[in-house]
Amino acid sequence: MKQRSTFVLSGLMTLLAIVFSAPASLAQQPIKVGIVTLLSGPAAGPFGVPARNAAELTAEMLNAGTVPAPYTQKGFGGTPIELVVIDEAGGPQKQVAEFRNLVPRVDIVIGYISSGDCLAIAPVAEELKKLTVLFDCGTPRIFEDASYKYVFRTGPTGTMDNVSVALYLLERNPNVKSFAGINQNYAWGQDSWADFENAMKTLKPGIEVKTSQMPKLFAGQFGAEITALLGSGADVVHSSMWGGDLEGLVLQGAPRGLFEKHKVILSAGEPAINRLGTRIPDGTILGARGPFGPFAPDTELSKWLKSGYQDRYQVPPNYASFKMAQAILGVKAAYEKAKGAGNDAPDQEKIIAALENLTFEGPGGTVKMALGKGHQAIMDNAVGTTKSEGGQLRMVDIVRYPADRVNPPEGMKSEAWIKSGLKK
């Protein structure tokens, strides 16, 4: 009986080998780009699907050659690109397995929203020597805790989100005496709160923390937490919430006067603009994790993305869409720089060399691969305040912060940089 099981097992393995074999080759055929993003679960709506949509739109338009300068060449350097999309759901252990399955099938991997997945994938990408571009995850730990050759991140880290809103708040409300927070109880929420708290304490020593609410991720209902905030007497309430949790917070908090009694900061609130619109009360400070969405500069590229996306998907692109488009365009820029004027397709080493320390234009503006030994992007940031005008939610009072004001210098860890007083 045991022999039978062994034979069946080996037979199954052979079958698997046949099914999964055949890696892609680079020349002549389209360039295969793996796209990994959250297609199921609560993060699919606000981030994963907008990112996938942006990827499909960008790929199609690139292949047709209808993207504005400097990306007018079709595909990557004339070769069309083909996307292989997989779901990022299931947690890091599962994603490492999926990544290993994906690598033989594609030439480049672009993806990953969840910081946990990014942290787990980076060493595997290094091991398998596959160029992997992280496009969204926020933790600065990737390039602060380790160095990679094959891994890049074309989006800025989460540090600048909370430093920027702290600067913005104190510029406008220098007499703030206390603050509180409500953040989701997982790494993103904890890190965002820690960054904001440290930034506030550095910029205004002596400021008081009234309460830090940490509801479970996806709790959705915040009755008791809102009561605690209302009773705390804080001047400011900070939240890095996103998705259904953020919408729940606004829907439950606004009628109870949360936004009237306190100045509310939503450091990653931009996707909620399209979902909640004028339900977000006026005077809320809002960030978009970079110069995206309503903060995007008025360039050809940003107009292209906004109109193309809106036409196709009937909603405006949010920051996840911007960051995905930016990642693909960044890879294209590196590919074409590596290819130069020749006819040969550049190999992975040349593309990596080109992408290091590259400066390129995205729909949100200029992207500089300036940290992490040329592997981590920095961008300017923008923060604004909400105001309803004519039935639409607009961002007013927009302030832009140059990249080096809100990002740590090369070689310095974000946490230490914030505590040192944001030294340049």
């Binding site: 699907v49 609410q213 008791a224 949790d245």
Partner: protein, 298 residues
């Protein structure tokens, strides 16, 4: 004193929600001995159906108060349709099996329904804030509270009392209690256990959908909304004693109050509060608070 009143109210409001969500589960387990993991999906279905029905009602400029009736209608529809489909279409062929196998079947159903919901309603969140804002707010302990919370508390009370009345005073209810107590004996006495199972499952499903439908106006309805509910409902049901409605009510109240106090005094421990309560109750009373006395079979 000023702080205790809001804490108590928050606790009771949360407890009402928990009770609505767990009542159906404890009923189904008590009668059919099925730990229905798909309970979370029925909750989600109720929430999504409520958004669609009430949303359509409001979009047609019909009187806003009617949206509450739509919430009720949504739960009843989901309970009857989904409940009947699940019970008659799948579960009735599996009753002889081991309890654990039944749990796994309901887990498979849960997975399937998650994607079915995604296919029908998409991945974007659905919003239905009108019924929540409509009744306005009132003041308690100096802080504003939505009247909707009072509505939820009222709904939980009415549901609990109605269930208790039906179970204890009507003939059908007593038949249900008999089946909970001893299935074989009930069959021997002539009770149509199969029909009792169907009725129980439909009622349980309706209760789950009711929880979801009345939660929908307070939150953004997203995919995965059912996942967290499953563990919470299980915990409350186990704390209260399986199959005991009174136990579920008391368990919900305990969990709600402890959680509310934790949020106010020790926010980081909020994640543990429900599991700590469950562990403590099970250590003190190994079969839950109101476990039914079972005769030992030698």
């Amino acid at each position: 004193m000023n702080a205790l009143l809001p804490i108590a109210f928050d606790g009771v409001a949360y407890a009402s929600w928990l009770f609505l969500v767990s009542a159906g589960l404890t009923l189904i387990y008590g009668v059919m001995r099925i730990l229905n993991v798909a309970h979370g999906s029925l909750y989600a279905l109720g929430a999504y159906a409520a958004c669609s029905l009430a949303g359509a009602w409001l979009a047609n400029q019909l009187p806003a108060a009617g949206s509450f009736a739509m919430l009720l209608l949504a739960s009843v529809l989901v309970g009857c349709i989904a409940g009947t489909l699940l019970e008659r279409g799948l579960l009735q062929w599996m009753y002889g099996r081991d309890e654990v196998v039944l749990v796994l079947i309901t887990y498979a159903v849960f997975l399937i329904m998650e994607d079915v919901i995604k296919v029908i309603w998409g991945v974007d969140s659905l919003l239905l804030p009108e019924p929540y804002a409509l009744p306005g707010s009132f003041s308690l302990g100096g802080l504003p509270y939505p009247v909707y919370n009072l509505l939820l508390i009222g709904l939980a009370l009415v549901t609990g009392l109605a269930l208790a009345w039906v179970l204890n005073r009507t003939r059908q209810g007593k038949m249900l209690l008999a089946v909970i107590h001893d299935r074989e004996m009930s069959m021997a006495v002539g009770i149509n256990v199969s029909r009792v199972y169907l009725a129980t499952f439909v009622v349980g499903a309706t209760l789950a959908a009711l929880g979801g439908a009345f939660t929908a106006p307070t939150v953004a309805v997203t995919p995965g909304i059912g996942v967290e509910v499953i563990v919470l409902a299980f915990a409350v049901v186990v704390i209260g004693g399986l199959g005991s409605l009174g136990g579920a009510a008391l368990g919900a109240l305990l969990v709600g109050l402890v959680r509310s106090a934790t949020v106010h005094y020790w926010p980081e421990a909020e994640l543990f509060s429900i599991y700590a309560v469950m562990a403590i109750v099970l250590i003190a009373r190994p079969k839950g608070l109101f476990a039914a006395q079972e005769a030992r079979k030698i």
